[in-house]
């Protein structure tokens, strides 16, 4: 599957395209199929997101898992600061993305 990601223009936060809007949670990301270019062009025009790009991912246990480790780290947060990730209370979250 192809999912879209970028950084929120004002905050820089990592965001994922949920079909209608940008979400902070990768679990909300949807497969955009062949529409990636059109959505990115439209969203860049709207100035909400910075440098959006498409990411190859695989649906794993119902959740999109980016194929490349870089985007998996983006989707969670720094592996060396569990307290600053999106899942600070889930000790297995980091090992699952490595």
């Amino acid at each position: 599957m192809n999912i879209l990601t970028g950084n929120d223009l004002k905050t820089g936060a990592v965001v994922w395209w949920d079909g209608n809007n940008w979400s902070l949670n990768i679990e909300d990301a949807v497969d955009v199929g062949d529409d990636a270019e059109a959505i990115m062009a439209r969203e860049e025009q709207s100035r909400r997101v910075n440098v959006p790009y498409a990411v190859a991912a695989t649906l794993t246990d119902g959740v999109p898992r980016p194929d490349h480790i870089k985007d998996r780290v983006r989707g969670l947060g720094p592996t060396v600061r569990p307290d600053l990730t999106l899942k600070p209370d889930d000790p297995s979250a980091i090992t699952e993305i490595i």
């Binding site: 950084n7 905050t11 820089g12 100035r47 592996t79 600053l84």
Partner: protein, 543 residues
């Protein structure tokens, strides 16, 4: 230390207003990212993996307590309670919001700081010896010359769009504590046979994907021609540096391709031309700058240290440096606790370092390129009290230049350029060598880790270097041995095929075991490597 005059302050204040407007125009949709990106980079604002990252300049690593307090306040108010000290003697914040950037720059300007020229193809922060002005072995304090170069290079209209970024280091002792020969220009302040001070120029060094050691192109430039000669070096580079290929655009490639002799000939020709133009600032300006760096009022006091507390004695042995006044030492505050993140400091730790500088070190601090902090002028009489407070705050780890004193770039945990994570490796190596006790018997061993070929973690210059690479989407690590960024500058050699994370940690231990088995007398790891070569290490690693 240097204080802004009205011109410095006016320039920085004007830049704050300008960037505040630019950021707002970006938020309002009046600038595209393509238009805005070069503007934000000129102000140190990157877009990294998780957020915007702001890199703040700390000229030649020197700052005072008020400035360190301000850096701590920024960490608390606009970031997530911490900052990261870098191998360029700067500080980075990892969680910055674009909408806050103008306010942060204003807060920095209020304490004579900024983020100008911390990115982009311009002359970056001038770096120097972290013991400058304090070291017993220095000829003079190199910082007045670094400051003169800072003023010359700030907003220099001819050098704002160089072929590539440009880094300058200035030292004034034969011991190199600034990786001088791994800079685009390395300057060593020297004396000639007549006893006059001058500058010895090394040009074309660097790390990155094509590491090179800078050759010496002129052994003595009179100090009243320092800027003119620097300008000549830059002009030749600006004219002929490769703008067609980003990966061949650094000055080291130009010097290498032309040959040091031809590059030097062109610089000398340009220098002769520039001398006629009279571009050198008046020597009175250098003298004015020098007054800011006069010694504080040192007082005679106890010269011996009570070593009855073994933990304190160990810290003294490892983390203090000989001072030019025999009643003082320079004390290194370790930002490398066992298992910690190299270079990270919490806002509370930054406030404490500021307070300790105010109390014990004439209100001065220095950031080291090895990602620690120095209190340069500490009375021997105050040393135990200082150590007690540092130790209680987790800042007293006795590991300077030991295997636990690892340089590590932010790596894939933060950096959009990285291929692999650096920090977890450093944490695990530090933990292993603390737990097995080997750190205490290894002596000086400099381990440096980069998460990509850009080499921000200086892996080429590590006695042991580790480079993270992307092997079909999986982190992999190359090991190199024999590098040095000191006066014996050398580039490490790759041992062979790479390792996974667990494998490279084991490999580091294997390498240290070979050293311990082969070591003669007081040899450091690097000495043993230079004597026996790569073969015994390769044999242990791969056979």
């Amino acid at each position: 230390m240097y204080s802004y005059d009205q011109y410095d302050q006016a320039m920085v204040d004007a830049r704050v207003a300008e960037f505040r407007d630019q950021a707002q125009r970006r938020i309002d949709g009046k600038l595209s990212e393509d238009q805005f990106k070069p503007l934000r980079l000129m102000n140190g604002l990157y877009l990294q993996l998780h957020a915007y990252m702001l890199r703040v300049a700390i000229p030649y690593g020197t700052l005072n307590g008020r400035q360190m307090h301000a850096l701590a306040d920024i960490a608390d108010k606009y970031d997530r309670g911490y900052g990261h000290f870098t191998t360029r003697q700067n500080i980075q914040y990892n969680w910055i919001k674009l909408e806050d950037a103008g306010d942060i720059l204003a807060d920095l300007a209020a304490v004579e700081m900024h983020a100008i020229q911390t990115s982009g193809n311009c002359i970056r922060n001038i770096s120097s010896d972290h013991f400058a002005g304090a070291a017993q072995d220095e000829l003079v304090d190199p910082r007045p010359y670094a400051e003169l170069l800072r003023q010359w290079s700030s907003f220099h209209p001819e050098f704002m769009y160089l072929p590539r970024k440009f880094k300058i280091a200035v030292i004034a002792s034969d011991t190199d504590r600034a990786a001088m020969r791994l800079h685009d220009i390395g300057i060593q302040i020297v004396k000639n046979e007549a006893g006059e001070l001058g500058a010895s120029f090394y040009v074309g060094g660097g790390m990155g994907r094509t590491p090179m050691i800078a050759p010496n192109i002129r052994s003595f430039v009179p100090l009243d021609q320092l800027i003119t000669y620097s300008e000549a070096c830059l002009r030749v580079y600006n004219r002929y540096g490769r703008r067609d290929n980003k990966y061949k655009a650094r000055i080291k490639i130009l010097v290498h391709e032309l040959g040091a002799e031809e590059y030097t000939r062109q610089v000398e020709e340009e220098f002769a031309h520039l001398l006629q133009q009279g571009i050198e600032p008046p020597i009175a300006e250098l003298e004015r700058i020098r007054t800011f760096f006069e010694d504080p009022a040192f007082e005679d006091g106890p010269k011996t240290i009570d070593r009855s507390d073994p933990d304190f004695a160990l810290w003294v042995d490892r983390n203090t440096h000989r001072h030019k006044h025999d009643s003082y030492v320079s004390a290194v505050v370790s930002l490398k606790p066992v298992g910690g993140i190299p270079g990270d400091a919490t806002a509370e730790q930054m406030h404490l370092m500021a307070e300790l500088a105010e109390q014990y070190s004439f209100d001065e601090l220095r950031v080291m390129h090895t990602q620690n902090v120095v209190l340069p002028h500490v009375k021997i009489a105050d040393l135990h009290a200082l150590w007690t407070k540092l130790d209680a705050a987790g800042l007293g780890t006795p590991n300077l230049d030991q295997i636990g004193d690892i340089i590590a770039c932010p790596g894939l945990d933060y950096c959009s350029l990285a291929n692999a994570r650096s920090i977890p490796l450093s944490q695990k190596i530090s933990e292993r060598f603390a737990a097995n006790g080997k750190q205490d018997i290894l002596g000086e061993l400099k381990l440096k880790i980069s998460g990509c070929i850009n080499a921000c973690g200086h892996h080429h210059a590590g006695h042991i270097g580790i480079l993270g690479v992307d092997k079909k989407g999986v982190e992999n690590y190359q090991l190199s041995l024999g590098g040095s960024e000191a006066e014996d500058t050398a580039l490490g050699k790759i041992t062979g095929r790479g390792f996974d994370e667990a494998g490279v940690i084991d490999a580091v231990e294997t390498v240290t075991d070979v050293y311990l088995a082969q070591k003669q007398g007081e040899e450091r790891f690097l000495d043993t490597y230079n004597r026996i070569g790569m073969a015994p290490f390769k044999e242990a690693l791969y056979d």
